[in-house]
Amino acid sequence: MRGGEALLRSTGVPRDGHEPPRGFEAMRGRPRWLIDPVSVGLWVFMGVATALFSLFLFAYVMRIAGGDAAAIAWPKQVWLSTALLALAGIAMQRAARTGPSRDEAAARRALIAGGLLAMAFIGVQLWTWSILSQAQVRLNGNPMGSFFYLLSAMHGLHVLGGLAGWAVAVHAAARGDDARAARLTRLCARYWHFLLFVWVVLFAALAGITPELAARLCGVQ
């Protein structure tokens, strides 16, 4: 936890006790220090993750256009996991709500729920793996299956990374550091929405871009 705390701790320049963060960029008048560096870092990371998953998707389309891929029937567990991740995002959004009506206790409960729902998402994804495996959808078989295992695993790793950040937020809330907890919760909420967006795009691609469509997209049919 200590490492996680430090990971999210940012020095930034406003720490200079002698020069309070008056925070106006000289020529532009932009209040630079109103933006949390961790928030900017998260945006940048989400950009990197977007590049990663986009490339996976391009690879998916090019590969399944090859002629040996066959569409697979998706078990209903995939819909359940998608719903869980959506609920996790809703809970996290409630936890991150600001303004005079903010109830710290309710926010803490929502924060916990957001994390637990994300864990449940991981659990159901693993369940989906076992169902597909029983249906003879192998990692080293039909490329549609290979890509499902690969993409859901990569997405799951990103969810686990988010849960590490979530644990830091829960720790801050448990210590009674409400301001820090609220700040981290807002970042978690943004990341949860991103995870949902990525998963929906991946699932839509896996379900919607059939080998025939991919072949047409790649101009090989």
Partner: protein
Amino acid sequence: MAYADAHDDHGPQSFWTKYVWSQDHKVIAIQYAGTAILVGLVGVALSNLMRLQLGFPGVFKFIDPEHYYQFVTMHGMIMVIYLLTALFLGGFGNYCIPLMVGARDMVFPFLNMLSFWVYLLSVIVLMVSFFVPGGPTGAGWTLYPPQAVLPGTPGASWGIVLMLVSLAIFIVAATMGGLNYVTTVLQARTRGMTLLRMPLTVWGIFVATILALLAFPALFVSAVMMLLDRLLGTSFFMPALVSMGQVSEYRGGSPLLFQHLFWFFGHPEVYIVALPAFGIVSDLISVHARKSIFGYRQMVWAIVAIGVLSVVVWAHHMFVSGMNPYFGFFFATTTLIIAVPTAIKVYNWLLTLWRGDIHLSVPMLFALGFISTFAIGGLTGLFLGNVSVDIPLSNTYFVVAHFHMVMGVSPILVVFGGLYHWYPKISGRMLNDTLGRIHFWVTFLGTYAIFFPMHYLGVLGMPRRYYAYEGYEFIPPSALHLNTFISVVAFVVATAQLLFVFNLLWSLKYGRASGPNPWRAASLEWQTPDTPPVHGNWGPHLPVAYRWAYAYSVPGAPEDFIAQNAPPEAGGFEPEPGHDTATRGVPA
């Protein structure tokens, strides 16, 4: 951590927190650079082993074809990824960004420390591959499937696995570092340090980092998918094939998909290395010619334009792989368009030098050397960017000559120039000048002697990646003699690098004390209250930037430079059309 206040915080005190588990960007920079230089020396040694075989074929019995291909592969990967990328971003990026933008550190120091240790882990995994059964991979640095993972290719059992794992680990490290560099540039600039006042070194590293963050995922995707092909029997890249008489389990995979992913990373990688070099060389030329950089804004936009264009040219590495002719036309066109912003930069360097007060110091020599080698390498790039010229020259020594001049020799000359330039700030001592000049001339002339003749070998049709060249009627004996000459020069140049390493270590203790600003440079890193800068960089007060970093030889100024943080009354503001320069530069 709140080390801004000099009264109640003195930074880490123990040896371990100060030098090993350090979160100080300057220490991390040195850790990165030291590791990169060490692994780079391994890369140089491997190139010399290759040259032993090429210059004196069959004489050294321990260099069999398997070993030769392993040397080729490891040399390429080490130099491109583990030396140049790590040194420019992890070394120069870490050292220069916070000091040049007036910050106390990177915005995420702990992540920064992790970045180095993860990088070190990737290097260790790579080095371990020398000692595993079968040795490191010999698939060529491009690691093309299907041959990279098939028996018959050296290192197909363990070597390729360790290479792919090492690359994946490296990408994690580079991402951690990249998040820091980008966020620090965006968020931790001191007052008055607008984006268009940042030194070009920071601009180069900043845009290169964005490129790295967007391009390295492509290598990550290809590494993960190839690992799965190799270890778990998937067929992402592996087609159905018969290997050594055995029908493999693979079916349907696309080797061409790997090529696209690899080069979607691989070409931006050229600019991940080149853009920091462009930035650094701009600063070296301006400081050592005592003249403001010509066309600062053009230089910034050229860096941005090159960065953008570099992600839409990748398939020019695949002209011989076969593609729709219209795609070939597209990629040839985008490739040639890159010449425009690149040429703008070269012209601006020359115009900066024009009528400058040129000091032929060692950093300046390396900067001038860079302009020469980069122009040569860039011009041969125009040849290879054209499909019709590329096809006959592809896979010949012309390509070897081109990319070594443009992205081997050129960036490494800038690395040396940068190290000679900033060493006094890093250590408080000057590098030995005589050793530096010997190092420059041997390296500069030597690399020309190595790579320039390779253009002729390439035009002659001499294929690259061959273990031996005897018995080919179209290769005359003179080509083999030329190879011997190249090899001898390569050994001399390699030895000169040891001289440089000796200089680095010797000068730490015996070098002449440099003082805070031996080059009389204007940018912020030279204005720190302590040299070397202490933890937190700036003492109790952060500097305030009142002007750009290129106020040299300003008419009427008492000295021939005005520091970026000198009071506004000193003048020397950046030229900007439409603004009254007399009242500009004062932060709100």
